[in-house]
Symmetry: C2
Subunit: 243 residues, 2 copies
């Protein structure tokens, strides 16, 4: 899909010009990084969704040194988290800040948000919950795929879903629902424990029921990336590999 | 090993009474949870180590709302992180606090530290670096096994090493060094990406070279645990399963 078509279809969904651009940049970043399930295909997908208000705006519930709480307030998650990231970049913490975004879904490719922070010279760690589709084999579904994205300035961003495949892979026809189990192979309990821990972290920090995002933003004190890059190996986030 | 013998041997290593008790509780907690490689066997192991000063004390480098930085200052990691946890429990943040502990190694079973926070009614997320023993197959070793522990009040604590086995397993003879690869099976790149992201997170936040620990402490706003426990399934941290 070309940029012009994407922006036009997002405008038809009711998004204002700036929001449409933010969404396009997210989907196009995912597309270029080989994460097609988070990419352009999300525009026709959005056209089938009804549970967002393209004119809604996140509400700043609380801001103090080291902590910010947002309520997405009907804003689609991509934009609610994008807005929290923009605010953290515009007014970065002196040292570190925990940012909670309540009722925020879907948040897309978390590496995209963290990369924006990294490009602005900030360390970022982000997780977000989603519908409960992971559980122990044969057991109840207890957690979302709950990815964890970590980025530092210098271009290395890791972004790992705790599912062996993503829901987006299924929506896009790249995988079947049966394949959506915790990653880890024989050690699936590790992928599941990470998903469960992240689920509880988010669920313990929000005040309202629903999916949420938890973001840590910090100022770096050291730059560990050049020594890594000198090794000349391919690192997560520097190519188009699907993590 | 019995408590009396453990405490006596720790005292012989030069640790004061309170530190010896802190160490014993850590090792005994690990032993009882089936993590023998972090358990009593660490006392004879400590007897072979020289790089710690049993009389050293961590130095508080900086404390402000939402952020604390410690320098372990020669204190063994178990005690340096244990001290940071004790301080966070004694003076918990209003909302959240990022705690960096520099030059801190070894930190032991991270779930132990996080469980202390959870038992005190706080949410905790902890990672810590260690010697570089993980890398892509056939490639250089780039990261520690860099576990991630997450706990919330109510007794569910997850603690996942990014290695298929731990170094402790090797030290204790439970595994061979060849088995120390990123966990994930065919999706080893996910375990490796998590280890690398956590390595960069810690390395970007410390000011001095060396291993370090990064801890997030937050006040919970909700209690997601009872609904989970009602399901009656075995959850990480509630039994003795080795995660």
């Amino acid at each position: 899909m070309e940029r012009e078509e994407g922006l036009a279809r997002l405008a038809d969904l009711g998004f204002g010009e700036e929001d449409a651009q933010t969404l396009w940049e997210h989907f196009d970043d995912a597309e270029r990084r080989g994460k097609a399930s988070h990419g352009h295909s999300r525009i026709p997908w959005l056209e089938t969704q009804v549970e967002f208000d393209p004119k809604a705006r996140p509400v700043l519930v609380e801001r103090r040194e080291g902590f910010t709480r947002w309520d997405a307030n009907g804003t689609i998650g991509y934009l609610a988290v994008g807005n929290a990231v923009s605010r953290a970049i515009a007014e970065p913490p002196e040292r570190a800040e925990l940012v909670v975004v309540e009722r925020s879904y879907p948040t897309g490719m978390l590496g995209h948000h963290v990369r924006r922070l990294a490009d602005a010279g900030l360390v970022g760690v982000l997780t977000a919950t989603s519908p409960k589709r992971l559980g122990p084999p044969g057991g109840p579904k207890l957690t979302g795929t709950n990815p964890l994205a970590i980025g530092v300035p210098g271009g290395v961003v890791t972004d790992v879903s705790m599912g062996a495949v993503t829901w987006g892979d299924i929506v896009s026809g790249f995988a079947t629902e049966d394949e959506l189990v915790p990653f880890g192979g024989e050690q699936w309990h590790k992928g599941f424990a990470l998903a469960l821990g992240l689920q509880l972290l988010v669920d313990a920090l929000v005040r309202q029921p629903g999916h949420g995002a938890v973001l840590l933003v910090a100022r770096p004190e050291s730059d560990p990336v050049p020594a890594l890059l000198e090794l000349g190996i391919r690192l997560p986030g520097t190519g188009d590999r699907r993590e």
